[in-house]
Symmetry: C2
Subunit: 223 residues, 2 copies
């Protein structure tokens, strides 16, 4: 019965009359990968990494277990590919016309995500899984490195507009805007709200203007 | 054999000739709690929360399983009590004589901890466990709330010295100094070093001086 369900769902995924929105560029392979990614995310959110099994992903995605083992190897491969897929989106950082506005919009994206249980489930599940799987930790590092590289545009534009000193450490700036919000969400377990996002963004913008993110601004370590 | 080991270790804990340094104020109860805490920390670091069992803690601590169940209820009780115990230390924030120095010293404590695998094991294990246990998450929230309340002294002293404007949000300031470091350690999985700690501290100090942590400095949310 379980296997029949899997087969029939897999057949459905090949159906060219599938509902609009379920077909991504790339056809059946991409659809399969999406279905597997969704099942992995649901499984992580429901059971955590220790409880995630290939069997669960097979049942939930409708993709046969043999296919999952062949293409993803196992649970770690499934989780890291879901992260890789998340990194392939077309997200671009906000472009409000000012450094303050862009940093505030970046911070608000974090509070919007972690303030909404269903939006928070995916990132939280990956962050949790990284504690238990070195391959997941490596994939998470890659995901955020790429994501923050995109964010650095915000600082480059601010430098071009004369709002930030040339040489400002863009990577440090965009991480500093997100960090106090992630910190409360996943470490100190405190609530997030929009005023906190705004305060965080305003503080980082003030530090940027003061030149605190210029390489020379860091004091030399004491000898 | 296993049970004998446990009994003999439990007997040893009652031995008044135990090695110096193993006796805390409070006598046998405190020693038992310490032994259990150490076993919980080792177990979390070695096996993670999902792999931690009362049996493991019993074997490792030398405290009989029946005692553990009676006094701590189970794994969640053991983990949350270990966190409570961690919060009972006498740690006080640095007092270097300046806001910049104090924030830098606070940041360096974080990079020193997460830059050293054995020092990082405890906090990392608790942060990871909080994803899988609501009671642990609650205990972790309490631990950090209390810890950051202690840190606020740094900002109060800065206000008294005229280095920070009166009304500065001390809780936000001390979290902002730690957050980018924890963020790299447990979310983006990037390396930490002393220059990063110094940059983080310098940025927060600059934002404090600019008044970015005053309540009125946060822009009103857009309507």
């Amino acid at each position: 019965m379980q296997q029949e369900l899997q087969l029939s769902a897999e057949d459905a995924a090949e159906d060219p009359t599938a509902a609009p929105g379920t077909v991504r560029p790339g056809g059946r392979t991409a659809r399969t990968r999406d279905a597997v990614r969704d099942a992995v995310l649901t499984g992580l959110a429901e059971h955590g990494y220790p409880g995630l099994t290939v069997e669960y992903v097979a049942e939930r995605s409708g993709i046969h277990k043999t296919t999952l083992y062949r293409r993803w190897g196992g649970v770690e491969g499934l989780v890291t590919d879901a992260l890789d897929l998340a990194g392939e989106d077309t997200w671009t950082p906000p472009d409000t016309g000012s450094l303050d506005g862009d940093l505030r919009a970046l911070a608000r994206e974090v509070t919007d995500t972690f303030g909404d249980a269903s939006a928070a489930a995916g990132p939280t599940a990956f962050i949790a899984a990284a504690f238990q799987s070195e391959r997941t930790a490596e994939a998470l590092r890659g995901f955020y490195a790429e994501r923050f590289t995109r964010c650095e545009t915000v600082v480059r534009r601010a430098v071009e507009r004369g709002e930030a000193p040339p040489g400002t450490d863009a990577g440090a700036v965009v991480r500093a805007v997100s960090a106090p919000l992630f910190f409360r969400a996943v470490v100190t377990r405190e609530p997030l709200d929009a005023p906190l996002a705004d305060q965080t963004a305003a503080a980082v913008a003030a530090a940027v203007r003061a030149g605190a993110y210029l390489p020379a601004a860091s004091p030399e370590p004491a000898d």
